[in-house]
């Protein structure tokens, strides 16, 4: 049985910063829920509150029927947590690490092997190797195995793909999808916006607040502006030049293009940009309307000036 998660008005301050400001969330059972946001958005703090590692200043929350403050013992039994930092024992071998975590939860590798099989198979050839000698991607897979070993009903993964190469990231997400099919609620945070599209629903966080919660498709659909992809021979000054244009447009690099968000008629505005850029001395100017990606949406949301 996977567990649903509810958070009501949780706030948490550290001596120097306000890490979470009135955060409320509802996560359904068996959902693959993503938290997207830059460093310092409050993702780790929220996860630590959920795993009962720290107490919120105010607000309430529950995992399944367990209160996150009162029933922390029960929560620790049913939740699997993979901290953001690699937190296994580097001087123990892969197998020993897994065994240790299994024993912590009074279980064994054998007992729950079916659950971790998909993950563990990929690192099993190296089971005698010390965990410190594993590659980044493999470390994360081992950490995932360790978080899963006690058959949790909810797993919380704090930036599992940070510092991992692109292929390993893909593999890792594929594994998460598989875990979801085994009836586990998954909360995952990531600073990579492209990974948001892989979640059922995402919460975009910034500076301790949740900006939006929705499915990735819905977020894209709700995007009101239009995206113009612009490319010229002189990419270097392009960004600066575009910022000089009349409107306070949003301009940012996006792959091979510079993206510009506008609410005006695209055809007319494209022409305007072309003439403007020609004056500035750009050649081979390409301006085309592009489909908004989830990253465009996030950037737009994050840059939105705070209106009361």
């Amino acid at each position: 049985m996977s567990l649903a998660v509810t958070i009501n008005n949780i706030s948490k301050s550290y001596p120097t910063t306000e890490a979470l400001k009135n955060v409320s969330l509802d996560i359904k059972a068996n959902e693959l829920f993503g938290f997207i946001g830059p460093d310092g958005a409050g993702k780790t703090t929220l996860f630590r509150i959920l795993t009962s590692l720290i107490l919120p200043d105010k607000g309430t929350g529950s995992i399944g029927n367990f209160d996150i403050i009162k029933n922390y013992r029960d929560i620790r039994k049913v939740v699997g947590y993979m901290p953001g930092r690699f937190s296994l024992y580097g001087d123990l071998s892969v197998e020993e690490n897994l065994q240790f975590y299994a024993r912590l939860f009074k279980t064994s590798i054998k007992e729950n092997y079916d659950l971790i099989e998909d993950v563990y198979q990929q690192i099993e050839p190296f089971k005698k190797r010390r965990a410190a000698d594993l590659s980044g991607g493999m470390k994360q897979k081992l950490a995932l195995s360790c978080a899963l070993i006690h058959k949790p009903q909810l797993i919380i993964l704090d930036e599992p793909t940070t510092g991992v190469d692109a292929i390993s990231r893909k593999e890792f997400w594929a594994l998460l999808k598989k875990m979801q099919q085994k009836d586990i609620t998954i909360l995952v945070s990531t600073p990579y916006m492209d990974e948001a599209a892989l979640c059922d629903r995402v919460a975009l966080m910034q500076e301790g607040s949740v900006l939006t919660i929705d499915s990735p498709d819905q977020i894209v659909n709700n995007f009101s502006g239009k995206i113009l992809g612009i490319k010229t021979d002189h990419m270097h000054p392009l960004l600066y030049d575009l910022q000089q244009m009349d409107h306070p447009n949003q301009v940012y690099r996006f792959g091979a293009f510079v993206h510009l968000v506008t609410h005006e008629d695209t055809a007319a505005y494209s022409k305007k940009i072309k003439t403007f850029l020609e004056k500035k001395g750009h050649d081979n100017i390409v301006v085309e309307e592009q489909k908004a990606s989830i990253e465009d949406c996030f950037l737009a949301l994050m840059n939105k000036p705070e209106t009361p």
Binding site: S52, L53, I54, L55, K77, R85, L104, C146
Partner: protein, 372 residues
């Protein structure tokens, strides 16, 4: 629980360098303190400035040099050479005989010998002074005897109880035992716990349903075992290398040491709860534990000679009581009836540290992260 212990042993044994340090340091320290750092003076280099050069001065010089406390470095020719001789540094004492020494002794019945000592090390200087005085006195007595001018005879019989040969090892070994046990137990536990904090593995341990008491116990047990092994090594060394007797019950000795070990370990846990990093834990145990234990426990400096304020402070040093206990068992061969008070003091300290550290060791991450 067993899992924790096994894991901790893996950590200890996989880290070869720490292992060597863990077992090597106690051995080296005991040997160093036993052999090198000693108050006994042997073969001190002396110079003789003999203005008289008669049979009497020669006889006295001979007497002094024939003891193995002194070794002749050179004969000086004039007073001017005394200072340069000391400056060179290897001479500890200069013996000066006044001119016409024997003649004066015969006619006036008295003559003067001047002893000049290098007191950069006051301890050595006063010991050398005593030795020389003793030798000269003996010589005078003998001379008087020969000439039948014997005054009333005062015989002093000195018996050195518990340490007839006045070996300084007897004094150092209990102290060094205390310091090493304290250091190994407290430092190693505090470091191993803070290491988990630093690595972030504490986070992973805490989210598991394992109780903090179990985590602590699992951390501590391997170090109890290790420290016990180290303790046996030290006792064996002091017994067979320095000939330190164990006059009391060996079982009692181990029992008391185990108690002291547990005290040190709980102190280690306490340190780990207040320190954020391994380095901090190490420095804390060095300065908070080791220095006071060395200086205030009566290990090197006698507590009775300290200012009253420091004497009270030394009462707070667990090491002080343990040293008393060890000396009682090993040197005096006393039973528990002679030091049950000291034992109780250590027990109370243990309970206190254990209580505080369990209270401080939180089930959450927060309290430790708040204290920056």
């Amino acid at each position: 629980m067993w899992t924790f212990i096994k894991k901790e042993f893996f950590h200890i044994f996989r880290d070869y360098r720490s292992m060597i340090i863990l077992f090597g340091i106690p051995v080296i320290q005991v040997l160093l303190f036993g052999f090198a750092i000693t108050n006994d003076v042997n073969n001190a280099k002396v110079a003789v400035l003999d203005h008289s050069k008669d049979p009497v001065t020669r006889e006295i010089t001979q007497k002094i040099l024939s003891s193995n406390y002194f070794q002749l470095q050179q004969y000086l020719k004039s007073d001017n050479e005394i200072k340069p001789a000391f400056r060179k540094g290897n001479i500890k004492e200069v013996i000066v005989f006044e001119p016409h020494f024997a003649q004066k002794l015969n006619t006036e019945g008295k003559a003067h010998i001047q002893l000049i000592l290098d007191a950069t090390n006051p301890n050595t200087a006063s010991i050398l002074n005593n030795y020389t005085n003793g030798i000269i006195n003996t010589y005078t007595l003998e001379k008087m005897k020969k000439e039948n001018k014997l005054p009333t005879e005062l015989n002093i019989h000195t018996t050195m109880m518990y340490n007839p040969e006045l070996k300084s090892a007897f004094m150092f070994v209990p102290g060094i035992m205390t310091v090493i046990l304290m250091l190994v137990s407290a430092m190693m536990t505090s470091i191993s716990i803070t290491r988990e904090k630093e690595l972030g593995t504490m986070e992973a341990l805490l989210v598991s349903p394992v109780k903090p008491q179990v985590i602590i116990l699992g951390k501590v047990t391997p170090y109890v075992a290790l420290s016990s092994v180290i303790f046996v090594i030290i006792v064996a060394l002091s017994r067979f290398v320095f000939g330190m007797p164990i006059r009391g019950s060996l079982l009692l000795l181990f029992g008391e040491s185990l108690l002291f070990l547990i005290m040190a370990l709980s102190l280690g846990i306490l340190i780990s709860t207040v320190s954020k990093s391994q380095q901090q834990a190490m420095l804390l145990s060095m300065f908070v534990l080791m220095m006071p234990t060395i200086l205030l426990s009566g290990f090197i400096f006698p507590i009775e000679n300290m200012p009253l304020f420091l004497q009270y402070l030394s009462d707070l040093m667990p090491g002080k009581w343990f040293i008393i206990i060890i000396k009682n068992i090993m040197l005096k061969g006393n039973g528990i009836e002679y030091f049950w008070k000291d034992t109780i003091i250590i027990i109370v300290m243990t309970l206190f540290f254990l209580g505080v550290s369990i209270k401080k060791f939180n089930v959450r991450l927060e309290p430790s992260s708040k204290k920056k």
